[in-house]
Symmetry: C2
Subunit: 131 residues, 2 copies
């Protein structure tokens, strides 16, 4: 049978995709309570999980113990404020190797104190196991 439709799931996706703040589950929950006063946090978590599996949204990592999500699936850098936890998009052309910290600092009005490059995938062990 054809996949079902869920207004709430659509709304959750919309909140994440239309925001530039990389919201957490709890933030999405707070926003949606205005439209769906009875919505449950569990519903938000479950739908976020499914939206991730469906490739509609992705995680940008855990900031201050809370997972943050992004509706922009393109591979791009982020800036994380260590004071308030804000997550800011950095344009791909400003990535490491193309731009200095000073250039990023000026362009995005931030102070860069550190950077981190992470690759994801499967390690040699897991590939051997045909996982």
């Amino acid at each position: 049978m054809p996949p079902k439709h869920s207004h709430k799931r659509d709304s959750i996706a919309e909140v994440i995709c239309s925001s530039k703040a990389h919201p957490s589950a709890d933030t999405v929950y707070a926003v949606l309570r205005e439209s769906y006063p009875s919505i449950s946090l569990a519903t938000v978590y479950r739908n976020i999980s499914q939206l991730r599996a469906d490739g509609v949204i992705k995680s940008v990592g855990v900031v201050e113990g809370v997972e943050r999500y992004d509706g922009d699936l393109s591979d791009h850098p982020h800036f994380v404020c260590e004071s308030c936890g804000a997550v800011i998009d950095i344009e791909p052309q400003d990535a490491l190797g193309n731009s200095s910290d000073e250039q990023i600092a000026e362009k995005y009005n931030v102070e860069v104190t550190g950077r981190h490059v992470v690759y994801y995938g499967r390690c040699g062990n897991c590939r051997e196991k045909n996982k």
Copy 2:
């Protein structure tokens, strides 16, 4: 008065700094139970926190819900296996812009499916607040 000395803290730092696996608090705990059968997980967490504040170790982020640590303070890329959670060091010269995914895949025997560049620091708002 001069700062005190703690054999356990030294051992915790040593486990992290001598490992290339980027261990979690729980992994450190498991290792140290061999030398200190009565050590508490709380002690591991407290000392990790202090070692971080002292700049002896740093966090490499949260993998599968668990924080991982690195005794190599240099700014370098990592590879995270999405199957088993392994964290592998990537040499700085292989960072984005200097190396293709294929080159990384071959050199480190991994399969790269994604990458992420993160800058850390203070955002404009927080700088205005003189935080």
